[in-house]
């Protein structure tokens, strides 16, 4: 099995065409995506809902805010 496994410590691995990428995905690559997706799929905390609903009150284009009571 004299595979051409000798890799010089250059950036050669990073320069491979992207078409070859899918074939060399290690096991953890899927884990990285899972890590990301697990956060994306979390329900949004109320603090964000509150913040988003408050944004409309502070419209940056609208100088004539009538926020004073």
């Amino acid at each position: 099995m004299a595979s051409g496994k000798e890799t010089s410590p250059t950036d050669a691995a990073a320069e491979k065409p992207t078409s070859a990428k899918a074939m060399e995905q290690p096991q953890w690559a899927d884990g990285l995506k899972q890590l990301y997706d697990s956060v994306v799929e979390e329900p949004l905390p109320d603090s964000f809902k509150n913040l988003l609903s408050q944004l409309d009150v502070t419209d940056p284009d609208d100088a004539s805010q009538n926020g004073n009571s």
Binding site: A14, W28, L55
Partner: protein, 203 residues
Amino acid sequence: MSVETRSASEKADFKRELTEVVPHLRAFARGLCGRPDMADDLVQETLLKAWAAQARFEPGTSMRAWTFVILRNAYLTDMRRNRFRGDYDETVAERILTAPAGQEEPIHLSDMHRALLTLPPERREALLLVGAGGFSYEEAAQICGCAVGTIKSRVGRARSTLNSMLAEGNIPQRSIGDDAAHRAILEELDDVAAGNGETAKID
């Protein structure tokens, strides 16, 4: 002054797109700084900045890429102010990644996360953008304000580092409570901040 005449529907579109991108901002921030509470603070800061800068958003372009630039800049700023110490999230420790059939040893999510957090920040963000966020090299380069080749190199180096760490189960305890390691991270960040963000800087 130069008051943008943006229609109500444009503003509504912006708000809707910004809302849709929040889960992705949280995921990116979590990957960058590790701690969920700090990551969420970072996202809130990002949302406020994005909202304030919304006149500069070009409708039809990627809201995710645009807000990631803002989040990234906020992260780099906060990092230099020593707000984040690269701690990792203990609550993920018990979770196990689903391994493909035939794999003898599943990778723990905590190992994955810890390994990720030991990467130099510029490689970590490059890998997050491309490997987790699904951005192309070109998009990631725009977000980081650097050349496409630089992103490819960073992703390649990050991948080979993770390969050796996860394959050998040899994940260094870098960055946790270690002042020397923390200083090293900050120095790397200065390099990242100095070389990047020129073209992509938002604020």
